[in-house]
């Protein structure tokens, strides 16, 4: 694409182009189907444990460890409508590449992010974990529901939704290629959406 072949995705964003968006949209279209479901309890358990750990790392604000769960060239996508749309053509609730995930963490760590001052306490529950096969033997899709209790500066409130994880199977587990977070109120006005989902 006219760009040098190897680029550090923490410092630049050469990988997010039309082909990347197209593949992402395709990967998150019509994937959670009964005929693709993986029933094997051991595999489902392994993914469930992975997602539970992800939730715990976020609750513990261990953001660097959380980021380590992601592939170098990853996407974090919170659509702004239930139809999800094409992020190239419309505003999303959030769309980050690796560098912007690191931006998010950097900002929270500055000590001057007033929307997280004091930092929210969160408790995440992950449930209804289902696993789906893809065209590649090395990639699986996980669907899970989440409920996040957030104590925001003294106010207890909740976020609810479901997530889709596109997971690369690696030698020692999984690596997140893309996470799509579907908040049930993604197209409503929400108060202070500054935690990582």
């Amino acid at each position: 694409m006219g760009a040098p072949a190897a680029q550090d995705p923490s410092a630049s964003s050469y990988y997010v182009g039309d082909a990347f968006y197209r593949e992402l949209i395709e990967a998150f279209a019509d994937w959670d189907r009964d005929d693709l479901a993986i029933a094997e309890p051991a595999r489902r358990d392994a993914v469930r444990a992975f997602l539970e750990r992800e939730a715990r790392l976020l609750d513990q604000a261990r953001y660097e460890d959380w980021l380590a769960l992601y592939a170098p060239e990853c996407a974090y996508w919170i659509p702004g409508t239930p139809e999800r749309g094409d992020p190239r053509r419309e505003i999303t609730f959030a769309f980050h590449d690796r560098r912007q995930l690191e931006d998010r963490i950097f900002r929270l760590r500055t000590g001057y992010a007033w929307s997280q001052h004091p930092a929210s306490r969160t408790v995440r529950s992950v449930s209804n974990v289902e696993l789906f096969a893809t065209e590649s033997a090395h990639i699986v899709m996980a669907r899970s529901n989440f409920l996040i209790a957030e104590l925001l500066d003294g106010d207890l409130r909740h976020w609810a939704g479901w997530a889709g994880h596109r997971l690369q199977i690696t030698a020692d587990g999984y690596s997140i290629l893309a996470k799509q977070v579907n908040l049930i109120d993604c197209d409503r006005n929400v108060r202070n959406p500054s935690i990582a989902f």
């Binding site: 760009a3 990988y15 997010v16 039309d18 505003i91 999303t92 560098r99 900002r107 929400v190």
Partner: protein
């Protein structure tokens, strides 16, 4: 060191139904009750939102006949519709039978709206077209009072749809006055002067709607409230070149200027802080997904025009504020919506370049792919911090005895200002002159009963 302050005799004023706005709005300060008193909020829904032109929607949200989008005028629920004849209307979303909303979808296309409660049906002109089992009624349903109420004056200024209930309000173009200049310039930087609304970052906060208007031209808060954003945007930089860094070096004497216009509109012009050459806007744009990829592609495919094209994907350094609820900033159309005395919604509609005459051709897709990401940056990493600060103002204002909110930066220092002939005051970026000006307009409006004159279709 403390000073004794003689309490002002406000209690009798505040405890009665009559508010003395001369006692509440001073030249240098306003009383906290403007932000905390539910009775004042109720009055604002009539005397502010019922009196002036209020932004309702952008025409791209209702491009074809029968398209509609829900909106609000103050608290009044509306359906902004392009009726079957193509006429823009703002119908009250309120059944004339017993009051239920007749439209419960945020947007869509409909020739008619049927009330779900008892099935009364209205054409999208607002006219009642049918009532189930009419033989049970002795009245004449062709009488106007059974048609949906509607905002009597709905007009578009270059795609921005406004409405007013006030029969005595000036023409929309006169109401806007000199704020049209920056608005025109903002539109005209796009091919064909056109753009389209494409979804939004939708936020709300627990605070009064005026906290947002107070902030809209405030160049004083930027390096403090947005400190984390500025640090984030510049984390790879040697110096501080990215984002709103131009506020850092003595913003009072810098190139950023504030324009306070008649009718409580204002404008902060940051364009002079950026060199006037293609690509200069893009250079200060924060880092965002796809930026290097698409830049490389555009430079390869459009070597002569790449810089100008990339500027179209970059945030335009302006804040244009149209009283009481419309804010143009960067590439956003930001709309604020009062929900209650201490709750406000603020929706940051993203805009896309549409290129009606094919001026930029194949560059359109990449430009918008970048432009969506550049627009998400500020609401996500900047506005949330302002909204947190607004909430903390609302919390601080619970201190009853400490009743005043100061907005006197620049007051008594006339050398800081110059006047443009059309009633415009020009001043430094950090000045609160725009707040004092808009509060004067606010005071006059709050002391005046507007000629509210909604209409209904006849015959």
């Amino acid at each position: 060191m403390t000073t004794q302050q003689k309490p002002l005799p406000l209690e009798p004023i505040l405890s009665g139904r009559v508010h003395d706005f001369d006692a509440l709005v001073h030249e240098d300060k306003v009383h906290r009750s403007l932000y905390t008193d539910p009775a004042i909020f109720d009055l604002e829904m009539t005397r502010i939102f019922g009196a002036v032109w209020v932004f309702l929607a952008h025409e791209s949200q209702v491009p074809r006949p029968n398209d509609f989008v829900r909106a609000r005028l103050g608290l009044r629920p509306l359906i902004v519709v392009r009726d079957s004849n193509g006429v823009l209307r703002a119908l009250y979303n309120r059944c004339t039978h017993r009051g239920a909303t007749v439209c419960r979808q945020d947007r869509g296309s409909a020739k008619a709206f049927q009330c779900p409660y008892h099935g009364w049906t209205y054409l999208n002109t607002g006219k009642l077209s049918g009532v189930p089992w009419p033989e049970g009624y002795s009245c004449d349903f062709s009488r106007p009072e059974f048609n949906l109420m509607q905002v009597p004056r709905v007009e578009s200024y270059r795609g921005f749809v406004f409405g007013t209930l006030n029969a005595d309000a000036p023409a929309l173009t006169d109401y806007l006055g000199p704020v049209r200049r920056p608005l025109d310039e903002w539109l005209d930087r796009h091919p064909g002067g056109a753009l389209e609304v494409r979804e939004a970052n939708r936020l709300k906060f627990n605070g009064n709607w005026k906290l947002l208007y107070d902030n809209s031209c405030d160049g004083y808060h930027v390096v403090f409230s947005h400190r984390s954003l500025l640090m984030m945007e510049n984390r790879f930089q040697e110096g501080d070149g990215k984002g709103m860094s131009y506020y850092k070096d003595s913003p009072d004497t810098g190139p950023v200027k504030l324009y306070s216009f008649p009718n409580a509109h204002h404008f902060k012009d940051k364009r002079d802080a950026i060199p006037k050459r293609p690509g200069a806007l893009w250079e200060i744009e924060g880092l965002h997904p796809g930026m290097e990829h698409y830049e490389a592609a555009l430079r390869r495919d459009f070597p002569d025009r790449a810089d100008a094209l990339l500027d179209l994907a970059s945030s335009e350094p302006v804040n244009i504020n149209v009283f009481p609820n419309l804010h143009i900033l960067g590439n956003h159309i930001q709309v604020s919506e009062p929900l209650s005395v201490a709750e406000t919604a603020t929706t940051w509609y993203g805009t896309a370049v549409v290129d009606p005459d094919g001026e930029i051709g194949e560059a359109l897709g990449p430009i918008n792919a970048l432009r969506m990401r550049t627009q998400e940056q500020f609401p996500t990493f900047g506005e949330v911090d302002d909204l947190a600060n607004f909430e903390q103002i609302q919390a601080g204002l619970a201190a009853e005895e400490d009743a005043w909110i100061y907005m006197h930066r620049g007051l008594g220092l006339p050398e800081r200002y110059s006047a443009a002939g059309d009633g415009t005051t020009v001043g430094p970026a950090t000045d609160e002159v725009f707040m004092r000006d808009y509060m004067r307009v606010y005071r006059r409006l709050m002391q005046t009963e507007p000629a509210i004159a909604p209409t209904r279709e006849t015959a």
